[in-house]
Every structure is written in structure tokens, then in C-alpha cells.
Amino acid sequence: MISLNVNQKTYQVDADPNTPLLWIIRDVIGLTGTKYGCGVAQCGACVVHMNGEAVRSCVTRVSRAVGKKVVTIEGLSKNNNHPLQLAWQEIDVPQCGYCHSGQLMSAAVLLRENHNPTDKDIDDAMAGNICRCGTYLRIRKAIHLAAEMQRKGIKNG
């Protein structure tokens, strides 16, 4: 059995240590907000936080997550009130929405490390998250808005 901490909850999972973390999160634990995109760390749909870093769970073996804190989109905030989630709703960012849990998780690392990102900072942080619908301009706008909310301490709920 492998012990995992996901969204501040401990799970015991019976799995091969080489299984990708994404499989465990979706198929074993049942948190399906994180998406499978390419399977080779190229698209960013599967990004989750592991000890605060935006790892790509499709290529991360579950054994790497042992003893670490994993956070998925379901655990980003308690009431869907992370400034990024609020901004995403405000700007109405998604089109099909498939990539956006990964987009949000990557953007959350950016805002944690840079409270006032420029367009270039956003490009540097988000260039690994592909959106087939091409919502990039709205993503950028929402990140700026979320940064502003964060600086002002705005949080709903």
C-alpha cells in the first residue's frame, strides 16, 4: 500500500510505485478535475502541486509523491475562491475548459512567487500550458486581475 497526502487528506492506495500520479488521482482516488492531455509532459493539462511545485502528474511516478503534499484543482481553495478562480469566472476565461485545471494550477505557482507579474512573467510561467481553444489572451487578463485581487486581499465566501 502507498500512503498519499492529497488535498490535506491521507489516502492508502494499492498501486505499482511506477504508476503515474495522474492515474492514481483520477482512477483510484476519484478526483477527476485534473485532466489527461498528452501523457508526455508536453501540454500541462495534468498539472498538480507537489510540495507547492507545478508538476506534471502524467509523468510523475506515484512513488515520487510519497511523503509530499499533493494539491489538485479540487484543493486549490476551500470554496472555489482562490483569486484565480474568481478572476477566471469574472473574465469567463474557458471555452471548452479541458485545459483549465492545469492552467489554474500553473498560474497559482506564478502568483505565489510573483504578486505583480508582467505579461512577460505570465508568458514565462504559462508557456507550457497549451489551450487548443486559444484562450490565451483571456488567461493573461485573468491572471492580471487575480494578481490585483490578491494584492488587495480580495476573497469571496
Binding site: 508526455v40 514565462d124 508557456a127
Partner: protein
């Protein structure tokens, strides 16, 4: 008469000594100028063993080392710019990944977010190593675009090589991240020398005096 002989002897000795000294100096000048035509001595480590120095053998070994260092498996993480390179054509890494201050990437695009402690199965998937990173921003240790002369000088320069002395340079070739260049997974062309041949050449280059090829 006795006094006269003594005077004569004193006046003769300096001339003889000067001739001998001049001869020795001439030999030294000719010898060293001959070396300078071919090699520039780059040794910055005072503890080098003079007995083992061999400029020709050292430079020949470095030219083997150079082939490896300039291969994509090594050079791609020692770029001239602030983006790592990728592939056998050393193109800019996808996602415009950046070096960052520590050489570990920035924000959501840190090296270890994709590069796992071990290789990922499959063709052209991200190669892995627990220490995956570029040289840091304050000491970029650029390989890309460097001539053999420039690269040899750079590697032996304590102020440009990550503050490594001779012993640490020898150890660096045994680092798992260096060795990873020979085992990056499916689809990656290995460096032109075997790892063992590279180690031999690296050690020879340094132990024989760490000479740089001529510019």
C-alpha cells in the same frame, strides 16, 4: 706578479659566467616560445604535478573531450542564452523554458516539474535525473559557440567553472547529471565517445597539465 694574476682572474670570471647565463637564457627563451606557438598554459591550480605534464598529450585529450562537450547531450544545457536547448539540432527548448536565477527554471516551468528523478518510458519523453538543471544565472558556464581554446580556458578558470579546483573538476565528470548524457532514454543520440572513453580523456587532459589548444 701574484697580485697581477689575482686581478686577472677576477676580471675573467664575470665574463665567463655571463656567457653561461646568456646561453641558458637563450635555451629557455627558444623552448618556451616554441610552446607558446602551439599551446597556452591554462593551469590555475597551483598543486599540479609538474612531472606528469605533457602539453601534447593533454591537448589531444581535450580535443576528444571537446567533441563530447559540444554534443547536444552536453551543450543543450550549457546554452549561450537563457533558454535550454533541445534535440540533436539544439533548438530552443519547447515552452520557452527559462534558466532562472538558480538554473532550475521559473514559476510553473521548473526543470523538475517535467524532468523526473529517472527517465520517463517512451520515445523522446523527458529524460530524468534528480539534479536536472542548467548552470545558474551568475555563472552560466556556456559551451555553445566556444572554440576548443576558449572552452578549455573557461573550464580551468576557477572564476568561471563553478569554483571547482582540480580535484572537483575530476569528480565533476563522475557526477550523475554528467553521466546522464549517456542514458537519456529512447530517441536521444548519445555523445560521440563512450562514457568510459570520455572519462579517460577528461582525466588525461587535466592530469597532464590542462593545456588549452592554440586559439
Amino acid at each position: 706578479m701574484k697580485q697581477h694574476l689575482e686581478i686577472k682572474t677576477r676580471s675573467f670570471l664575470p665574463v665567463k659566467t655571463m656567457i653561461v647565463v646568456a646561453g641558458v637564457l637563450a635555451v629557455i627563451v627558444v623552448t618556451t616560445s616554441g610552446f607558446k606557438d602551439k599551446y597556452s598554459f591554462t593551469n590555475t591550480d597551483a598543486i599540479y604535478d609538474d612531472i606528469n605534464k605533457d602539453s601534447i598529450e593533454s591537448v589531444e585529450a581535450f580535443m576528444q573531450v571537446y567533441k563530447v562537450l559540444m554534443s547536444p547531450r552536453c551543450m543543450n544545457c550549457h546554452p549561450a542564452g537563457d533558454h535550454p536547448l533541445q534535440g540533436d539540432d539544439s533548438r530552443i527548448h519547447t515552452m520557452n523554458v527559462r534558466r532562472g536565477k538558480l538554473g532550475t527554471g521559473v514559476y510553473a516551468l521548473k526543470c523538475s516539474n517535467c524532468h523526473q528523478p529517472t527517465n520517463v518510458p517512451g520515445l523522446h519523453t523527458p529524460p530524468g535525473n534528480p539534479k536536472w538543471h542548467l548552470p545558474p544565472a551568475d555563472m552560466k558556464m556556456v559551451f555553445q559557440g566556444k572554440t576548443p581554446h576558449q572552452l578549455a580556458l573557461q573550464i580551468m578558470d576557477y572564476k568561471q567553472n563553478g569554483h571547482k579546483n582540480k580535484k572537483q573538476l575530476l569528480e565533476h565528470a563522475r557526477d550523475t547529471l554528467v553521466k546522464a548524457g549517456w542514458n537519456m532514454g529512447e530517441g536521444y543520440t548519445p555523445p560521440p565517445l563512450s562514457y568510459d572513453a570520455f572519462l579517460t580523456a577528461w582525466d588525461t587532459w587535466i592530469n597532464k597539465g590542462a593545456y588549452a589548444p592554440k586559439p
